[in-house]
């Protein structure tokens, strides 16, 4: 996965993501594609969650999955999550759950609860940073005011790091793939460098949902695992998604 929150030179917060899933879950040699990724693509839907006929939040989901991986609380905040790998992983959280220790939250139920109930970027940030989880994760959060964009790096029990947009440091965007931002990504799976190269080439002056889509369409940020691309703009409450393909030659991940 690749998630980006960027602030343009007019103070608009833009949030884009590629949802990559299905690694090592069966390769279709004939079609040069991942079996599960291909089966997920027809399930991609945009959802408008309403209460009293008013939109509470919107999301891009796989039908049948009740948690959230990509969502927007219009005019308030935008949220995506990327997978984080750690030896202290989800299987430990599941074992604890089975043994009756149930003070942690399932990751996608937390994101759903935050989108449904949090009413500000700060409130969302606090809940995502402090709630105990069953598995590690990256939460990428965008707000509705200047400087409100961050990557929350989570272990199961701790908030390990928070990286925020900081215009004074000329950090006008934050970008997360699936590696701790203070570490080098696995050389075989470096989607961060090409994505940052393209962001820096576009510049803050020209960043928009359109140019963000260009970056999310550049290989290997776009790869054989990419099921959908979502673009969100909190100020307009706009969420748009597109089902993707990656024509050969294309990285498997």
């Amino acid at each position: 996965c690749t998630s980006i929150v960027a602030e343009d030179d007019k103070g608009n917060l833009l949030h884009g993501r590629n949802l990559d899933f299905g690694l090592f879950m069966g390769w279709d040699v004939k079609n040069k594609s991942w079996i599960i990724s291909e089966k997920l693509k027809p399930l991609v839907v945009n959802l408008d969650f309403k209460r009293n006929n008013q939109t509470v939040f919107k999301s891009t989901n796989f039908a049948g999955y009740v948690g959230m991986l990509t969502g927007i609380k219009p005019h308030t905040f935008t949220l995506t999550m990327n997978e984080r790998f750690s030896l202290d992983g989800g299987y430990i959280g599941i074992l604890e759950w089975i043994l009756g220790q149930r003070d942690g939250m399932w990751m996608s139920f937390l994101t759903r609860s935050v989108l449904e109930n949090a009413n500000s970027y700060e409130e969302a940030k606090t809940r995502l940073a402090t709630t105990k989880l069953l598995a590690p994760a990256y939460f990428i959060l965008g707000g509705n005011q200047t400087g409100q964009g961050c990557i929350i790096t989570r272990s199961r029990t701790l908030s390990i790091d928070l990286l925020e947009i900081d215009l004074k440091l000329n950090r006008w965007y934050v970008l997360e793939t699936n590696y701790d931002h203070w570490e080098q990504p696995l050389f075989l799976d470096d989607r961060r460098t090409p994505a940052m190269k393209c962001m820096n080439q576009v510049t803050q002056k020209n960043i928009s949902l359109k140019t963000m889509y260009d970056i999310l369409s550049t290989k290997p940020v776009l790869n054989k695992l990419t099921t959908y691309t979502t673009l969100m703009q909190v100020s307009t409450g706009n969420l748009e998604s597109y089902i993707r393909d990656c024509p050969n030659p294309c990285m498997p991940w």
């Binding site: 027809p42 959802l47 309403k50 039908a63 948690g67 990656c246």
Partner: protein, 123 residues
Amino acid sequence: SAQFVPPFTEDCRSHMYPPNGPTFRGAVAWYTVDLDLPPSKRWNTLIADKKTDLVTMIQAIRDLADAFVPSGRLVELVDVTLPLMANTLPDPFSEEIKGIAAVSGIPLGEVVLFNIFYEVFTV
């Protein structure tokens, strides 16, 4: 030239928007989820529409499990134990997942597995 050797890193794309061409498979349909409905009813419309695709996807995961454990015991384990897990999940998720299983006809354990896949997959 960089494009034709791994990791096939392209020059930064431009003018890809509005989405078109070989990297764009299609637009995404919109559905409303009415949070005023009982949790077990909220997903009915969507699941009724996507039932076939969901069954196909679950079957692919079942085939994958059988590839690892040809005896079928792994799928059996999922179908027997994960429904118990459903009752331990916090509401409204437990009821929503049961509603999805009821409408789709997919065994409850397999719908639970689909919904906790993030934690399971870290294994």
